[in-house]
Amino acid sequence: MSFLYEPIGLSHYLAVGAFLFVCGIVCMATKRNALGILIGIELVLNGAILNFIGFASPYFRDENLGLDGHLIALFVIVLAAAEAAVALAIALNFYNNHATIDVDRASELKG
């Protein structure tokens, strides 16, 4: 637990990122509500973004990802938004057809 006493560094970023990632996964896996799952996905993406930011920062490491990391983070944010928009639309469509957004009810297709 020594890293709790260290100044903020890469490992902290990574830890938070990993935490977010795991949270997101758990969220995706446990939520029955489609919106909840979408939130989980956002969390996963944010975990990754945090990693990129951490890796890109020149303050933590001499050799770093640099601008690329930041750029990727920015792009991912935008993409996440786009993806969320489409996913929400699809969820809405699902609701229109099934009158629910409980993903457990989406079980017509199987086999």
Partner: protein, 538 residues
């Protein structure tokens, strides 16, 4: 300095735009369609026509035959094939023969798909602006996948290809199955993308670069210095996570679950697109990533990495292929069966990659040839699968059913359809003299070549597994053929009052005849593809 930078960027961008011509044309087409829609033009002109024109234009801009000239002899071709591998946009993308070849195949496929859409009823005029936009958009994403040279583009392209696909699956309003499939697809895709992105972040962090060749260089430096334990774990973990994302696109086992559900829920036209275009792009991406990571200045440095990747891809390919073939046995829905068949074919496609990895450094020319074999398989697979899905679409239109049971006695109801589908399915098995055999022959030939050159046991196993899978797949493809040709018409079968029209049947023959007759002269295709890929490893 800023000026130099800007100047540099401008020249680079301008030069790069040339290599991006096809994508730009497609973008322009999208814009055009959207504009046309804004001005209510689409009610008068079906936007599918616009999309087809756009695709044609893109094909012309891509000009796959120049500087290739198939009329020349193979010896000369080699020199022509050396289209210099150009990095575009400061190394974000790469433009080379391999990319052009796969893109050409995609565009040809797109043309055929648009014609199919015109002939079927699922995506009518009202939907067509949305639908064509989505299709073209996804295609641009796939183009980026094909020519990616940077992890950002990897992610971006996958998302660009996926997101419109989600929407396409759900495009029919009021379709319960479609909406469910779309939801599953979207969630699964997004999840996979998330995992992949996380893997990418780890890898980039470790190698401190996002540019694939640079990453490879760093990796070779790292490996030559000796990897620490945690680094190895991180690398493997990252590789697996990235693979998860790619495997999702390829519908490789164990990331395949979405595939049958989505194919069943989506229309056959979308199924065709997903099963061909998306697989083609994904396998091209796999080649890029795997080789980008595996290729370095000194081939011996990354031998372990390559053999690890070959092992990983090879095992996944074998499992995918076997699983797909086995799981298809029990299917009753044609689209679902084709979905599993797609999974199996994804396995065959992936099988072409390990010999490539094994041959790099041993015999680069042979490795390039293997990439060509993959292209050949893709080219053939494109026709066969499109044809099969087209039949499903036509029959859905005429009798409203996609159950295999209802195809009974098809030979009497609509002989053309039955014969065409039979030919296509048998071709999917890979039996001579149909085109499917050419693809299989090439891919297995690549594996055999790799095996004999390297003596890698994995490749021998793969060859055997691949060949035996061919025999296994016989069962379910032939079951459909049997139902159509030998089973009597069931009273409970869905009625078909009017068979597919003359146009539809002509379309089927147009797709089937090349499948039937390709064996007579596939040299030009092989030469063209080999020339295109000859520069992949130099």
């Amino acid at each position: 300095m800023l000026f130099t930078l800007v100047n540099h960027l401008t020249t680079d961008t301008l030069a790069s735009l040339v290599g991006l011509g096809a994508e730009l044309v497609l973008c322009a087409t999208i814009v055009l369609i959207l504009l046309a829609r804004m001005f209510q033009l689409t009610q008068r002109i079906d936007s599918t026509w616009l999309a087809m024109i756009g695709t044609l234009l893109a094909l012309m801009v891509l000009s796959p035959l120049t500087p290739w000239d198939v009329t020349r002899s193979p010896v000369e071709m080699v020199s022509i094939g050396e289209l210099p591998q150009v990095e575009l946009f400061t190394g974000m993308l790469v433009h080379d023969g391999f990319g052009v070849m796969v893109k050409t195949l995609l565009l040809v496929f797109l043309l055929l798909l648009f014609s199919l859409i015109k002939l079927t009823k699922a995506h009518g005029k009202a939907d067509s602006p949305d639908f064509t936009t989505l299709l073209l958009g996804a295609t641009i994403g796939m183009f980026l996948m094909i020519s990616t040279n940077h992890v950002l583009i990897v992610f971006l392209a996958i998302e660009m290809a996926s997101v419109p696909s989600y929407a396409m699956v759900a495009i029919r309003r009021g379709d319960r199955k479609g909406s469910e499939a779309a939801l599953k697809y979207a969630v699964y895709g997004a999840g996979a993308a998330g995992v992949m992105l996380y893997g990418i972040s780890l890898l980039c962090g470790l190698l401190n670069s996002a540019h694939l060749p640079t990453m490879a260089m760093r990796l070779s430096e790292l490996t030559s210095a000796g990897l620490s334990g945690s680094q190895t774990v991180l690398l493997v973990m990252a590789a697996l996570m990235i693979l998860a994302g790619l495997a999702f696109k390829l519908s490789a086992v164990p990331f395949h679950q979405w595939c049958p559900d989505v194919f069943e829920g989506a229309t056959a036209e979308v199924g065709a697109f997903l099963s061909v275009a998306s697989k083609a792009a994904a396998v091209a991406l796999l080649v890029r990533v795997a080789l980008g990571l595996g290729d370095s200045v000194d081939p011996s440095l990354l031998a372990t990495v390559r053999s690890f990747l070959a092992m990983l891809i090879g095992v996944v390919a074998m499992v995918t292929c076997t699983f797909g073939n086995l799981a298809a046995f029990a299917q009753t829905n044609m689209k679902r069966l084709l979905a599993y068949s797609t999974i199996a074919h994804a396995g065959y496609l992936m099988m072409a990659v390990p010999p490539m990895l094994a041959l790099v450094g041993v015999d680069n020319a042979a490795a390039s040839q293997c990439a060509g074999y993959l292209g050949l398989y893709l080219a053939v697979y494109l026709l066969m699968n499109l044809g099969a899905f087209a039949v499903v679409a036509f029959l859905r239109d005429t009798m409203g059913s996609e159950e295999i049971r209802d195809y009974a006695g098809m030979i009497h109801r609509s002989p053309s359809v039955a014969i065409c589908l039979s030919i296509l399915l048998v071709s999917l098995i890979g039996l001579p003299p149909l085109a499917g055999f050419v693809g299989k022959f090439a891919v297995f030939g690549g594996i055999a070549q790799g095996y004999l050159a390297t003596g890698d046991t994995l490749l021998a196993v793969m060859l055997l597994v691949g060949c035996l899978n061919t025999a296994v797949s016989l069962f379910y493809y032939l079951r459909v053929v049997k139902v159509m040709t030998m089973d009597p018409i069931d009273d409970e079968a869905a009625p078909m009052l009017v068979g597919p029209g003359i146009l539809q049947r002509s379309y089927l023959w147009c797709v089937t005849l090349p499948v039937l007759l390709l064996i007579i002269g596939w040299n030009w295709l092989n030469v063209w593809i080999q020339a295109a890929t000859s520069g992949l490893f130099s």
